[in-house]
Amino acid sequence: MLARVSSGGVSGIEGYVVRVEADVSRGLPSFSTVGLGDSAVREGRDRVASAIRNSGFKFPMERITVNLAPADVRKEGAGFDLPIALGILAATGQVAASVLERVAVMGELALDGSTRRVRGVLPMAVAAARAGLTKMIVPPTNAREASAVGRLRVLPAASLKSAVRILGGGEPDALIEDSASRPDPGARAEDLSDVRGQEHAKRALEVAAAGGHNLLMVGPPGVGKTMLARRMAAILPDLTEEEALVVTTVHSVAGLLPEGAGLLTARPFRAPHHTVSAAGLIRGGSVPRPGEVSLAHAGVLFLDELPEFRRDALEALRQPVEEGRVTITRSMSTVSFPSEFALVASMNPCPCGNLGHPRVPCRCTPPAIRRYLSKVSGPLLDRIDVRVSLGAPAFEELAGGAASDDTRGARGRVLAARRAQEERARSAHTDRGGLATVNARLHVAVLDDIVRMSTEARSVVRSAVRKLDLSARSYHKVLRVARTIADLAGAGAVAAEHVSEALQYRSDPGRSRVGTGRPRGS
């Protein structure tokens, strides 16, 4: 007899419905799985057989054929165990086939018949709802995640036996919730005031957050670069529901969702170590999974000690930084992952880190400094709108009381600036579909429309272009940053002071610093 069960698979971060067909017929006893399953799918046979027997059901000694449709898409993972098991039970009359209609089923099986959680349940749930399925049976630790899609009735099943009971109309098992994913009211969030001094850098952080600009902090070790970067996510506006769905999906597909977690609500902060490979940054595995750039989507990607990163890794960053997504082509498929993150990078001014320090001398030779700085390529540096130098704070700043500017204030200003940008994008350019809302992504074609400058501002820009020898790209960057600064100030037109501040964020680690703070002739 033949039975059908709906399940799901994931390609990239897109879910799709997989129809599992189980046919049990007379003949030499055998078990074959067709439909491009990987080895985890094919090995499911032994798990399914044991789970069925150990749950008190009969595993038929017949010819069993399992087909996973559509047959031309590669399927991976052990999540088909439960639907295959239910299909075999239905095909042998141990479960009524009618109860499997309009139900999506996913779950790995342990040999004793208990269910284990699977990756990518959220996008599968989205696909299931789209396909008109109404119920979904998942392992209890996947239940909260599946529930993020409102339109499905999620039925957690802790074992094959429970799944059969639930399908027959019984009570679902209790879902397992991740205690860590619920906000802890007693916890203190990381606050900007934890970093003493560095007002200039805090301001730059705010500008970067407000306009979606990439940020580079240059300064000696221990002045608070890492602490500041960690606080970037806190001053960004809350995730929208749509963003939360995408962020959760990416983590779900990567298998990095905490057990029992529902929708992720915090902006991600990813700080890959500088030994990370290009492959680790962009994607992982021969079956593509989201890499660091995608895990940082809608959040912050922090690259500490930028010049220490491998060259190919940094070069690989260009596409995601530019396009907000990465596209990966494999022999079997092409997938693309979102990667719209705020890039925050930090570096020392020289290998010893003391170049430019008012008291500590730098011990690096000029060639060593040049080598160090040249590791960061021009094109990448070019894509970083806001660059700022941090100095060693004075004792008074360190010992001074807390809080110069707290996170809440910065957050409020950032939010207001973001609103202004959205407003503008909506009103002025609804005809240009897909126009990015943040200033950092403003296209050159609309820059002049959107960045309205006062007469003085215009003259400041003009003289800057002349004196600083600004390239066209740098010029556009200054305009975008100036627009953000004006938005932070709540100004409609960009004024001279906004442009002057924007020009300050152009400090080039290679040019402006070499040669200062170093005794001549030493």
Binding site: R26, G27, L28, P29, F31, A49, R63
Partner: protein, 125 residues
């Protein structure tokens, strides 16, 4: 007693044992293109292909452990031949192993019947 004689004795013991359990013996030592099946029987509307294994002493492990991948493949091939020859392709079938152990220095024979020992894909069931 030679190994061969022992093997023949074991096959007779196994057949008698199956008959006792109510199986109808359809063939013994059935060969199809040099692939051999020790016993072909029938029970409850199902064809059962039986491989008989015999060992005296535990020195070489359990007899059932001597049914390897290649042996399974040969049995399956012969089984397909048998089903085709007798036009029984739409019958349910099964592969069993009957092991006969000589114990206590030849004073007793222990028979063990492993129902559904393996599948047609040559893997454990």
């Amino acid at each position: 007693m030679s190994t061969r004689q022992l093997g023949e004795l074991a096959e007779r013991v196994a057949a008698a044992f199956l008959r006792m359990k109510g199986y109808a013996i359809l063939a013994t030592n059935y060969t199809f293109h040099r692939h051999e099946i020790d016993i072909v029987a029938r029970t409850e509307g199902r064809i059962v292909f039986v491989e008989v294994k015999c060992r005296s002493g535990r020195g070489y492990g359990l007899p059932r452990e001597a049914v390897g991948r290649e042996k399974m493949r040969r049995i399956v091939r012969a089984a397909r031949g048998f089903l085709a020859e007798h036009d029984l392709n739409d019958m349910s079938s099964r592969f069993d192993v009957v092991e006969v152990r000589v114990e206590r220095g030849g004073l007793s024979l222990v028979v063990e019947h492993i129902v559904g020992a393996f599948g047609a894909d040559g893997r454990g069931w």
